[in-house]
């Protein structure tokens, strides 16, 4: 088993971990800042699957993370994961708040695009 596979398993375990808040903190601290695109992608997907206010805020609002990631691969994977959520209410609420309140224009534009996709999906 190579190290990437081990890390993927750790991320997956954090997604299923009973200590949800600590798992989100760890994913935010290490996973979203990883130099490896694959790790960032998997981290973003895991955070979105958790579908909590704290986990969604990281991938929707933070610059350079989740849907705002510089890597198109990571951003597209995050958007796909958001679209596949059964309950999108929390994500849409955060996106609307971001469109209204966020200081960064790039972040606001991305949030607007994603909200539009989610509304029509």
């Amino acid at each position: 088993m190579d190290n990437n596979k081990k890390i993927r398993n750790i991320i997956q375990a954090l997604g299923e971990h009973k200590d949800s808040q600590a798992a989100i903190d760890l994913l935010t601290e290490i996973g979203t800042n990883s130099p490896d695109d694959e790790i960032r992608e998997l981290t973003a997907q895991t955070l979105i699957r958790k579908n909590t206010h704290e986990s969604l805020r990281v991938v929707l609002i933070s610059k350079g993370k989740g849907i705002n990631d510089l890597s198109a691969r990571v951003a597209m994977a995050s958007i796909n994961e958001l679209l596949s959520l059964k309950d999108k209410s929390e994500a849409i609420k955060i996106l609307e708040d971001t469109i209204k309140l966020h200081s960064e224009e790039d972040v606001r534009n991305t949030a607007r695009s994603v909200r539009a996709l989610m509304t029509f999906s």
Binding site: N3, I7, N9, A13, H17, I30, P35
Partner: protein, 153 residues
């Protein structure tokens, strides 16, 4: 008259008894000086007895000496054999006691195997299975992740 005979007979019997006692005493006083022959303490009365006898010649005396030495040698052998047997028996008892103690100790010892640790040693990747990782604390996962991260960078 009869009374006198009886008293005479009684006197003779007493004399014979006294003689026998002296003889007995002489036979019992063996080797008062602890003289040894061929390394064995002579126990028989090889000395000139108080009562002289015809058979107490040189050849008879020598035979008696050898016989005494042989008897004494047998006695010594018996003693040595007994002492060796005692040591063998005590050794056996000690071994038996040790064996029983060991069995008792084994009986009282709780043997437990950390199967998870054994499995992790045999299958090092097993600890990175999602099921195993989910049971670990977040701090442990953080540490594991950080250990793996420099290898990627």
């Amino acid at each position: 008259m009869q009374i006198g005979k009886i008293s005479l007979h009684t006197n003779k019997t007493a004399e014979r008894a006294a003689e026998k006692n002296i003889e007995k005493t002489n036979n019992l006083t063996t080797n008062p000086f602890g003289v040894s022959f061929k390394g064995n303490v002579i126990q028989a009365d090889v000395f000139e007895s108080a009562k002289k006898s015809i058979s107490n010649t040189g050849i008879a005396q020598k035979t008696k000496l050898y016989a005494s030495a042989v008897v004494s040698g047998i006695n010594n052998f018996n003693e040595a054999f007994k002492s060796r047997m005692n040591s063998v028996v005590s050794f056996g008892r000690k071994i038996t006691k040790n064996v029983f103690d060991s069995i008792e100790r084994i009986g009282n010892t709780e043997i437990s195997f950390d199967m998870d640790a054994i499995k992790n040693t045999l299958f090092p990747n097993r600890q990175y299975s999602v099921k195993q990782l989910t049971n670990k604390s977040v701090d442990e996962l953080k540490q594991m992740w950080q250990e793996l991260t420099p290898a990627i960078a």
